[in-house]
């Protein structure tokens, strides 16, 4: 029955194809904000960081009680320990990221003009380990999520400002590739990220209240009840979530920290510019 609903939703949405878009990052953000402001006149922009929990009173109450005793405190402590542990070669994480852990989260994602690619926090954590001859963390969960969550928690309250240098055509192209990814229908169910997280946000799909894309990236990594139930702990990175959201429309997911998801993150995180980092957080 649930499946039927999703397929009906998919069928209803399989409308036409848009033209190529020549809007800038600033225009895209303004348009998305305006869209959500009109959809939910009573929800303040700053509350978009709370995702689905801004849209449903019942869900909000549940979520608030989870946050009173967060299940992830011990894992944050492991994250801090990772920061304080030097590599075997004697170098520290500061050799890659600088001394002040509170300045790291908010520098990502960013454009690396020399290597002509988008860099993400987790991608660079792995890169730093490789550069120092360390065995890299697994890409989507476990230590990489604890460490990333602790780094993000050090940046709480900072305003997100993902920069796309408009005078660098390669950076703009990466941003546009991310935007295309976000709006492209995919998989057997023929649904795009935007179908669920823009146009159908606030509605239910398979018993899940669909969150708006603005505010999506402010609180990652997240601790999900669902992930905790599927073995291991509940922590996962943003790219783990991307993989899950691709898979549920029956599309093949992409490699974490590969070009596709990094470009997607560049666009997707941009859509939260002006909001504050509040990480980590609990999600169903």
């Amino acid at each position: 029955m649930k499946k039927v609903i999703l397929i009906v939703l998919a069928a209803g949405l399989s409308l036409g194809v848009g033209p190529a878009f020549a809007t800038t990052q600033a225009e895209d953000i303004a348009a998305l904000k305006a869209y959500f402001a009109e959809r939910w006149p009573n929800i303040k922009d700053e509350d978009m960081v709370n995702g689905a929990y801004s849209l449903s009173e019942d869900k909000r109450i549940n979520w608030e009680s989870m946050r009173d005793f967060p299940p992830y405190e011990d894992h944050l402590a492991i994250g801090e320990e990772i920061w304080n542990t030097p590599f075997k070669n004697g170098n520290t994480w500061a050799s890659c990221f600088g001394d002040d852990p509170s300045t790291i989260r908010n520098r990502f994602p960013h454009w690396n003009a020399r290597d002509k690619k988008v860099e993400t926090l987790e991608g660079n954590i792995i890169q730093c380990q490789k550069a120092n001859g360390e065995e890299p963390f697994k890409a989507k969960k476990g230590k990489i999520a604890y460490f990333s969550a602790w780094l993000a928690s050090q940046a709480n309250g900072q305003t997100i400002n993902v920069v796309v240098p408009q005078d660098d055509p390669d950076a703009v192209a990466a941003y546009e590739a991310g935007r295309q990814f976000f709006y492209a229908k995919r998989g057997q169910l023929n649904l795009s990220c935007a179908d669920c997280h823009v146009y159908q946000s606030g509605l239910y799909a398979r018993g899940n209240l669909l969150s708006p894309a603005r505010g999506h990236t402010t609180h990652f990594p997240v601790w999900r009840g669902k992930w905790a139930r599927s073995g291991g702990d509940g922590f996962g990175t943003l790219h783990r979530r991307y993989g899950g959201c691709n898979s549920q429309v029956r599309a093949k997911s992409f490699k974490a920290h590969g070009e596709e998801y990094s470009n997607l993150e560049y666009f997707h995180a941009s859509m939260s510019n002006g909001l504050t980092i509040e990480a980590p957080d609990y999600r169903e």
């Binding site: 033209p19 895209d28 709006y183 492209a184 823009v198």
Partner: protein
């Protein structure tokens, strides 16, 4: 004499039968190769679907196990069940073609609000 004609009959039948099986096997192998090519093309366009041949997919049953469509085709072929092997190879090929078309169709996707 009776015995002899019986043997001939069996021989003729089994030649006929095995050439059917050979024809099925050949048809399956051709479809399998086409399915792989169609999904490679979809993959290159960023449009491959989850269940066509994904390692973790649990979409189709072969025996007690669930697996991707193309893996199911291979599983049935290994059992000599070419009806099912052909059916699933065709399905995997179809998904590859649809995934590719979808990716082409969505090349210029963007906001419509």
């Amino acid at each position: 004499m009776k015995q002899f004609s019986g043997i001939v009959l069996v021989a003729v039948l089994s030649i006929g039968f095995s050439s059917f099986a050979l024809a099925d096997e050949a048809a399956y192998k051709k479809l399998h190769a086409e399915a792989v090519a169609a999904n490679d093309k979809a993959l290159a366009a960023g449009g491959e679907w989850r269940d066509a041949r994904g390692k973790k997919s649990k979409f189709i049953k072969c025996g007690d196990k669930k697996m991707s469509i193309l893996h199911a085709a291979e599983c049935y072929a290994a059992k000599g069940d070419y009806d099912n092997a052909i059916k699933y190879a065709e399905m995997a090929k179809d998904q590859g073609e649809q995934g590719y078309r979808q990716a082409m169709n969505q090349k210029n996707a963007g906001p419509r609000h």
